[in-house]
């Protein structure tokens, strides 16, 4: 399908992350069927689609959780193959999972540095492997204040003592803290109340204003239309179209998503 007309507004820039002709089959089920994907610098790209459209498989392929059978993923124009989420993370793709992947009994600082702890310099760190708690706490505090999350008083309190929105905040701060190039957010507002959702949406806009592009997977149409720069609509395992939320209504998007209406190839 020709999408040049639709993605016209971003044609002049180079995408930071692209997927081309991605295919993933599970037995006889094709979860991703020749799907394409583009993410441009500094944008919020929402990915929407009906249940079973394959959007989570697509996101997993990009974040390294699954390996596509065919197709190529390029980051900054270079071909990449992620064998695990850890490899994707090393390349700068941070994913905030729906279940947040936080350890409830560990502190905020411990969670932010889980898997990439800072050790003390010199003998204590090299030989005795001693962690630099002070440096990690300081950095965690800085990152949380940058994102306006310092209602959290004590960086050493266990994550389980935080509210849902605060936990989401910690997870997003962790993703934004480590010089990441792309942040993928999976249903960040699904488990939150109205006010906490608002806070998290602000946080997402805040992260974008620091120049980090964001992939947002969400079922919440009002949230998607409010903060997304472009909306990638996934249907039957492939990218159906990409729309500008300013040009379409939510009902249009739902109609595309469910197949009630076909997008006009050149509408822009």
């Amino acid at each position: 399908m020709d999408q040049k007309g639709i993605t016209l507004m971003t044609d002049t820039r180079k995408p930071i992350l692209t997927g081309r002709n991605l295919v993933k089959r599970y037995g006889r089920v094709t979860a991703i069927d020749n799907a394409d994907f583009d993410l441009y610098p500094g944008e919020i790209l929402a990915v929407i689609g009906d249940n079973g459209a394959g959007k989570s498989s697509l996101i997993k392929a990009i974040s390294g959780a699954i390996r596509p059978d065919e197709g190529e993923i390029r980051m900054d124009g270079e071909l990449v193959h992620f064998a695990s989420p850890i490899e994707a993370r090393k390349a700068g793709i941070e994913t905030v999972y729906q279940n947040l992947a936080l350890s409830p009994a560990l502190s905020i600082a411990d969670n932010m540095f889980l898997g990439r702890e800072i050790r003390k310099p010199g003998f204590m760190g090299k030989v005795l492997r001693k962690l630099d708690h002070g440096a990690m706490e300081k950095m965690a505090r800085e990152k949380l204040s940058e994102l306006g999350l310092m209602t959290i008083q004590n960086i050493n309190q266990a994550v389980e003592t935080l509210s849902g929105g605060q936990r989401q905040g910690v997870a997003v701060a962790r993703a934004a803290a480590f010089g990441s190039k792309v942040i993928i957010l999976d249903e960040p507002t699904a488990a939150l109340g109205v006010k906490e959702s608002r806070r998290v949406l602000e946080l997402i806009l805040d992260v974008r204003s620091r120049g980090i592009p964001i992939v947002l997977i969400s079922h919440n149409m009002p949230h998607v239309f409010e903060i997304a720069d472009r909306i990638h609509i996934h249907r039957l395992g492939k990218r159906l179209t990409v729309i500008n939320p300013k040009d379409y209504t939510m009902s249009d998007a739902v109609a595309f998503m469910t197949g009630a209406k076909a997008p006009e190839p050149l509408a822009a």
Partner: protein, 359 residues
């Protein structure tokens, strides 16, 4: 927090929020009750409960028994009696913190001690080498446990229940149920009894086994709190999936924990030779249950991810204090078991109550 710019409503249904209170996800700032504060303190210091129980029981027995109990000799005797339980309990603590359980600790301990003894006396190896072989045996048993649990994904309870039987049976088959007598060891390979040697400071009598337990617990406390491996161990016990997504290699973590547990059990096996003097394949039958008791009374959660190794040592000491105290009072030994049973249940109930502090 600066007033967020985007607080102006974007969607119709949010307009009604305009007049609602603006504080988002903040904490209750009203002063918590003393009880609540106490609970929060216990929540952030998981070994405090067992320390309090230990101190209280020391005071109670000290007041009722006087100098007979409250002497350097009696108190260090308690340490000597809990040294083996404490060492095995350290291995058990690591495993239980990963939300597992190791029923084979006692069997691994005995097999390792038998290997140390038999390799010296049956094959004539230098005792130092035989001791290394004992450690290798412990590590191998732990490795088998770890692989079956982490890679084959069998439940720890089942794997270690099976290994308990397998290791214990191998121990009897290999040793042909023979005991190596203490005098033999003393004359040809005294290093095997190293941890039984005593030294005195005033009236206090210490064995190297006691020192080994205290050093081991100290080192593990450092490792658990101040190294990445330790933090990962808690994370794996807390929520393995979250740990995995955060970049912790959960399988490798679990295998390393079970291997380390096996090595610590071998150390306990060496200390066991010192304690009983001889190498006996029938020794240490209850080490697994005693170690689990120490861990539970020490406030380490059986659901993983919470607790302090210091708590385990306090738990082992509580059992030791009760045993000696009640014996000196001249009560039937069954009272000791009865009270320890009560303590186990109270400890788990207290753990549940403390955890409510987080909600």
């Amino acid at each position: 927090m600066s007033e967020p710019v985007a607080s102006t409503p974007h969607n119709d249904y949010e307009k009604v929020l305009k007049d609602s209170s603006k504080d988002v996800a903040s904490f209750d700032h009203d002063t918590p009750s003393a009880l609540h504060k106490f609970r929060h303190f216990l929540h952030s210091n998981p070994s405090a409960v067992s320390l309090i129980v230990l101190v209280v029981s020391l005071i109670v027995f000290g007041l009722t028994l006087g100098g007979k109990f409250f002497s350097a000799f009696s108190l260090t005797l308690i340490l000597q009696q809990v040294a083996i339980t404490g060492i095995v309990g350290a291995a058990q603590s690591l495993v239980i913190m990963t939300a597992g359980i190791d029923l084979s600790v006692g069997a691994i301990m005995v097999l390792s001690s038998v290997v140390m003894g038999q390799f010296t006396f049956r094959y004539g190896l230098p005792p130092e080498l035989a001791i290394l072989c004992g450690f290798a045996t412990g590590a191998l048993c732990g490795f088998i446990n770890g692989v079956l649990i982490a890679r084959v994904k069998l439940p720890p309870f089942i794997v270690t229940l099976g290994m308990w039987q397998i290791v214990l049976a191998s121990n009897f088959l290999y040793s042909a149920n023979e005991t190596i007598r203490a005098q033999e060891i003393e004359t040809t390979a005294p290093i095997l009894q190293f941890f039984g040697e005593t030294f005195r400071i005033g009236g206090a009598v210490f064995t190297y086994g006691v020192i080994a337990m205290i050093l081991l617990v100290g080192v593990l406390w450092y490792v658990l709190n101040h190294t990445a491996w330790g933090r990962h161990l808690y994370a794996v016990g807390d929520d393995p999936e979250a740990a995995d997504l955060s970049g912790v290699n959960v399988q490798r973590m679990l295998i390393s924990v079970y291997v380390l547990s096996g090595v610590i059990c071998a150390l306990a096996g060496w200390a066991l030779i010192g304690r009983i003097g001889s190498v006996s394949p029938t020794a240490g039958q209850f080490a697994n249950i005693e170690s689990i008791t120490a861990v539970v009374i020490g406030g380490i959660s059986l659901f993983g991810g919470r607790g302090s190794i210091l708590g385990m040592m306090f738990g082992a000491l509580i059992v030791g204090v009760f045993s000696l105290g009640l014996r000196l009072l001249g009560t039937d030994v069954q009272w000791t078991y009865l009270l320890i049973g009560v303590l186990i249940i109270v400890a788990v109930a207290a753990d549940q109550w403390i955890r409510k502090a987080s909600r």
